[in-house]
């Protein structure tokens, strides 16, 4: 096997992923004169960053007084104190600079009458350390992510970044010392497998929201960077933390905005009961996201779900005047008709809590360098955006901080590559003799498998297992069972079979390779979640309830620490949360309440 060779292309830097963070990193590298390749499964402006509509936060103070330190406080609190305070300070301090830079790259931000960047309020962003809401989100109408990608892409074209579009990275190349030397990638148009040999490798592959059956994430989000990192022996951090939205269309995952409940929408179970009256007698259907999601899951778990599998509840607006629905919620009516096959004027919409964002990822520091457990950088390896865990989002992400994360850590990872090259910390080392062996064996296994498992069915089994056993509200026994089940799913993933063995545009092969990545994320998530015996941020367990000793179920004595999941034997380790910021005083642990 070791005699098999593949073509090699050499670059200063290879970036995997062409969403916001990949494009931002690429600008830094290409403008510094480095020969930079960006690999992407799709054309860059089709990356999932487009779906981020809300805005990007920065304490510009254009509409009222604001300060990065207040933004930092909000982010630490939002993270339920699991975020690293050095990284959070760095991100919030850098925010005004990267947003203004983006403006100079041509981003068409909305403007105030005076021509400044217009800012609007957004949930969780407050002035004066949690006192009152502040206008901090900068947006380009409801197309912020889309506009951002276009501005960054144009700048890359100007800087001569080389794009490899419709290429899928398969594995990381590491040598015996652990240094990262590039990636092996597959060109979909030819089926060619090529080594991208580079001094620096930057992962910007986005999240893995497709591990859940109900997910707002586009199909592209299969956690390719996480899978590659795990297979290369790099631990994944805090993978138990996933943000959910209470109302996605059951089955499809498409979001139904909270505005529907604001207009009078009522959640009902299979007995047609308005069940929120039992869980939140005052706020009822307008209770906070967490409360609503938990109530929905409890109804489903206790057998009061709807449909043949009793696995969703109903969002009912049939009591509203059809004219009101047509006037105030026309988009939602369209979505219900197209994605649930239901006209909400006539029948209620099936909904279920739906996965939205991944807080954990490949462990990095605030410089975008991937780090080992003792915080030492892994030479040649960098990551930014949803694939990375810096950790700025901790146990839960604040809205508009995801686009900020892309800009700040995309840029800092690029700067770190430049610094590490200048200092001689990294350089082009020789490829090990057997560097392609593992990838070629994996491809060969897939090409020769007979009597194996269907990729589609196995992926569905994975997604259903994650949804049922490790969803928005978690139960001890379900998690224990879930670990056993997901390890069973892994056995099927190891023997997937594809009927099409051709080379050119073999999408069946690509989907099987994506599944290889999904399973790594699913295992990391389930095993990390089962082990964390507390509730914190987005990780909520029934056996860690709200008590006087542990408000909201959070157990700082035993669990104020980051999880590290190692693929090898599914081992878990923990490392301390960095409580010391870069220049200000630590924000001390406190109960998180809004």
């Amino acid at each position: 096997m070791s005699k098999l060779t593949i073509p090699v292309r050499k670059f200063d830097a290879v970036i995997v992923g062409a969403g916001g963070s990949g494009l931002r990193a690429a600008i830094q590298l290409s403008e510094a004169g480095l020969k930079t390749a960006v690999l992407s499964k799709v054309f860059p402006t089709r990356s999932h960053t487009v779906a981020a509509q809300g805005g990007v936060s920065a304490s510009l103070g254009n509409s009222e007084e604001d300060h990065w330190h207040w933004h930092m406080y909000d982010t630490v609190k939002g993270s339920d104190w699991l975020g690293d305070q050095d990284a959070i300070e760095y991100m919030c301090r850098m925010a005004p600079e990267v947003v203004v830079e983006l403006e100079h790259f041509g981003m068409p931000f909305d403007r105030t009458d005076e021509g400044k960047i217009y800012q609007r309020p957004f949930g969780g962003h407050m002035s004066n350390f949690g006192e009152k809401p502040v206008r901090r989100a900068c947006a380009a109408a409801d197309r912020t992510g889309h506009a951002m990608l276009h501005a960054l892409y144009q700048r890359n074209v100007r800087a001569n970044t080389q794009f490899f579009v419709e290429w899928m990275a398969l594995d990381l190349i590491r040598d015996d010392s652990g240094q990262v030397l590039g990636v092996i990638a597959l060109e979909m148009e030819t089926g060619d497998v090529v080594a991208f040999h580079a001094k620096a490798t930057v992962f910007a592959t986005g999240g893995a929201g497709r591990i859940f059956y109900s997910s707002t994430n586009a199909f592209i989000n299969t956690g390719d960077g996480l899978g590659m990192a795990a297979r290369a022996g790099i631990a994944l951090e805090d993978m138990e933390f996933w943000q959910f939205h209470p109302t996605g269309v059951a089955g499809a995952g498409v979001l139904i905005t909270e505005g529907v409940r604001g207009e009078g929408g009522i959640l009902r179970n299979s007995a047609n009961e308005r069940f929120m009256e039992r869980y939140a007698p005052n706020a009822k259907d307008l209770a906070s996201r967490d409360v609503v999601s938990r109530a929905m899951v409890t109804e489903i778990n206790e057998g009061r779900g709807c449909g043949p599998n009793k696995d969703f509840v109903l969002l009912d607006i049939t009591h509203l005047d059809p004219a009101t629905i047509m006037k105030r919620l026309p988009g939602i009516r369209e979505i219900s008709i197209q994605f649930a096959g239901i006209d909400p004027i006539k029948a209620p919409i099936p909904v279920v809590p739906t996965c939205h964002y991944q807080m954990g990822g490949v462990p990095t520091n605030y410089k975008g360098q991937v780090v080992s457990q003792d915080a030492t950088p892994i030479p040649g390896f960098y990551a930014a955006g949803e694939v990375a865990c810096a950790s700025v989002h901790g146990a839960n992400r604040l809205g508009t901080n995801s686009l900020l994360d892309l800009l700040v850590f995309g840029k800092s990872s690029g700067d770190s590559v430049i610094d590490d090259l200048r200092s001689g910390a990294i350089g082009l080392k020789e490829l090990p003799a057997d560097y392609a062996e593992r990838t070629l064996s994996r491809l060969n296994r897939l090409n020769t498998q007979t009597g194996g498992a269907s990729v589609n069915e196995t992926r569905l089994e994975l997604q259903r297992t994650m949804q049922k056993h490790c969803g928005v509200f978690r139960f001890k026994d379900m998690l224990v069972e879930g670990v056993a089940k997901i390890l069973d799913v892994e056995k099927a993933v190891l023997r997937t079979e594809i009927k099409d063995k051709s080379q050119v545009w073999n999408t069946a092969r690509v989907e099987a390779l994506e599944l290889d990545n999904l399973i790594e994320v699913a295992k990391a998530t389930m095993i990390s979640a089962e082990a964390r015996k507390e509730s914190r941020g987005a990780h909520v367990r029934d056996d860690a309830p709200d008590t006087a000793a542990n408000p909201n179920g959070r157990d700082d004595v035993n669990w104020h620490k980051h999880t590290l999941w190692h693929r090898e034997s599914n081992r878990l380790d923990y490392k301390p949360v960095i409580m010391k910021p870069l220049s200000v005083e630590s924000i001390a642990l406190k109960t998180r309440s809004y």
Binding site: R46, T49, A51, E166, T216, A218, F339
Partner: protein, 84 residues
């Protein structure tokens, strides 16, 4: 590139998009409606699939109209797709 390869490429471009809504709609359309299109309509669909999601979505949800008549026919079919 043969027909199978072209169809696979189109499938990739229909189901690996920026927005989940478009993955679902275009994927469903490709499976159920695309085989029934005439050659002009098929070409129009390929062109639609090449558009970015935030250009295509307003056509599908009816907030913008198509100028090209064949494209309008295909968009009308796309609007009728029900993802189940």
């Amino acid at each position: 590139m043969g027909d199978r390869e072209k169809l696979n490429r189109l499938r990739w471009r229909c189901t690996r998009r920026a927005m989940l809504e478009m993955d679902l709609l275009l994927g469903e359309f490709l499976d159920r409606i695309f085989p029934t299109l005439n050659p002009e309509q098929a070409d129009a669909f390929v062109n639609l699939a090449d558009m970015e999601d935030l250009e295509l979505w307003p056509l599908v949800n009816g907030s913008r109209e198509c100028s090209d008549p064949v494209q309008a026919e295909v968009v009308a079919l796309l609007r009728d797709v029900r993802v189940k």
